[in-house]
Amino acid sequence: MQRFEAGTVIDGFELVEKLPTGGMASLWRATNPRYDFPLVLKIPFLDPGGDVSVILGFEAEELILKRLSGPHVPRFAASGSLAQVPYIAMEFVAGTGLADVVGNAPLQVDEVARIGTEIATALAALHRQKVVHLDLKPENIILAKRGAVLLDFGLARHAELPDLLGAESSVPMGTAAYISPEQVLGERSDPASDLFALGCILYQLATGEEPFGRPATFAGMKRRLYHGPRPPRDINEAIPRWLEAIILRCMEVDRSRRYVEAAQVLSDLRNPDQVVVVRRKPQDVGVWAAITRLFRKTDERSLVGKPTMSRTQAGPSIVLAAVDLANGSDALAGEVLSETARVLASREDSWLACVTVLKTEIIGEAPAADETGRSEYLRRLVALKDWARPLHLPEDRISYHVLEAVSAADAILNYAEHNDVGHIVVGARASSAIRRHLGSVSTKVVAQALCSVSVVRLKAVEEQGLHRKAPEPIAPVERESAEPDQ
């Protein structure tokens, strides 16, 4: 086996400094004038008599990293073939390793939420690129300036690539402390597995303890199918109920009860006041319960539920409905509601974020701060809930947001981006001279949204149709001001 030392040059990459690593590969800081970003070379330990899964993992990581892009993964530079010197050259990501942060746990609640938000954002970006990480753990997460960056795709799975690694192995692959129950049973394709690992990481950050320890045996790993972790608040009373609810929902064994998408975790972490805290049923305790459990023959596959993909492909996970209630609910608001119902119907577990904008005149002024502002805010919230009531959504699928902003469009866009909204429904008033001149809310939302947008318009009544056909341009009767046409 070739030995590497500082100064060794491989395909134009000069090795500079060896970095500490695990047992599968060595990591070297490297330089190469052909690349304008700092580099690291990952060189797998290939022992001719060794485990074939090491090489398969190396090959899988190269294939997947090549296909990934965006700020939440290291940039791929080059790779060396197995026939010569196998290596993967990628961007060196500067930042704080989450492994170092975990050492200081338990952390403050807002710090746990902030880190959780960053990881959930990175996972959402990864899952959008059809990749499941399957080995999410603090050692594989860097908190960089540009957000969380995920490392080590040696166990990852791309939905459109063959999974030689999975077909090869009969033992569960992952890290004992964070591996999801379905992975323990050999399933390697569900993005929800990464959300389970995220739950374990949040648990650890909030409590300072690993939820399942580090079982060394298959049977030890399997325990998590039957025994939940100690509730976080039993360990650390300072953890608020909403955070505990988020952590435990990530860690649900049954995937029909777990979060389905990272965007939902993100949304809950960003809106703690909207998290539904369910009083958990006390666990079956006592000798008799233990004995019956022992003799009950359960199908382990049924415990982990169905893979989430069939649901995630059906429609958007989070729908944002923006409705203008400044003058109460009107025909357009009713139409927005109907369209929202249609979008939600494509997927039975989608979430709805109802948004209305309370306009402030000047930047910095907070109308909710004074008494009249506060009452206006509450009036809108009540109106918003009343508007959404005909949808009859259970409270864990719907949230309400009265946003105070100068620009309604900016407020909607900002909310949509920060909560990884999958679809926006927004109303548009009939065209008018002023609106054409200043631009409308819906126009701006359509132009700048990062997701699909449905623009709802009332079907023009006949008089307006006549106006349009008139030979001379006649300005239609002005009914609204330009802005509030969300």
């Binding site: 074939v52 090489i55 398969l56 090959e59 294939l63 073939s81 197995l82 026939a83 459109e160 690539l161 063959p162 030689l164 077909a167 090869e168």
Partner: protein, 246 residues
């Protein structure tokens, strides 16, 4: 090097022409015809003559079971196939028979073996429909890549030393990586009679530098082919299946 591999054209002129047009745009270095030029379809003369032209220009071509049946007047086939063989024999000229009769059962080029059915015993025309059949095929050759057709359903099998092959169903138009660690059996989908539920014609594009194979799908006017099948008096099902890709 980039290689375009066309299998199971089955006298389908519309599909063959559409695929060749798509292939030329990709400018491959090598063209391979994996057998079953004739049978089932209404345009055997056009397809055989076109294939002969391509071979004259450097394309590789192997024999398929339908080609053999037409040459040898074999009748050990399904009823529709047997009917089509007879129908085809009545339309081909001696030069066409001669071209088909000279086709080899398999061809090897560098580390690639081309064969219509299983490499296990090519003249037995075994189908590769499962891991067992793939394993027998892979173990009867030491080529790093075996390309075959015959099933009309695309598949890639990866064989790691001392282990059972791993099956992968390639997605349409998405490149499938070829592993440096494994030997491969690539089952190419059909040009002239797809049976994987997608009526679009299929051919394989191999890129030896990028270590990838892609099952490229080419929609074509199968309504016209079905009309010709009807007009020629060939069994109606042969036209119907083109519309549904079964």
């Amino acid at each position: 090097m980039r290689i375009a591999i066309l299998s199971d054209i089955h006298a389908n002129r519309e599909a063959f022409d559409a695929v060749l047009e798509a292939v030329y745009k990709r400018e491959p270095d090598q063209l391979v015809l994996l057998g079953d030029l004739v049978g089932y379809g209404p345009d055997p003369v056009h397809v055989v003559e076109k294939a002969a032209d391509l071979v004259a220009q450097g394309a590789l071509c192997v024999l398929g079971n339908h080609d053999e049946a037409v040459v040898l007047n074999r009748s050990d086939m399904t009823e529709n196939a047997r009917f089509a063989v007879q129908w085809t024999r009545e339309r081909l000229a001696p030069a066409h028979f001669d071209f088909l009769a000279r086709l080899p059962l398999s061809l090897q080029s560098e580390d690639r073996l081309y064969v219509h059915a299983s490499a296990e015993r090519p003249a037995k025309w075994f189908y590769i429909r499962d891991v067992d059949a793939a394993e027998r095929c892979l173990s009867s050759s030491d080529a790093r890549f075996i390309f075959c057709g015959h099933t009309h359903v695309p598949a890639v099998y990866y064989a790691l030393p001392g282990r059972r092959p791993i099956h992968f169903r390639p997605l349409d138009n998405v490149a499938v990586p070829l592993s440096a660690l494994a030997r491969h059996l690539v089952v190419v989908g059909a040009v002239g009679q797809p049976r994987d539920g997608n009526p679009a014609a299929c051919y394989a594009l191999v890129d030896t530098e990028r270590h990838e194979v892609t099952m490229v799908r080419v929609p074509y006017d199968h309504e016209e082919t079905a009309r010709k099948i009807q007009a020629a008096g060939l069994p109606g099902w042969l036209g119907m299946r083109l519309k549904i890709g079964r």
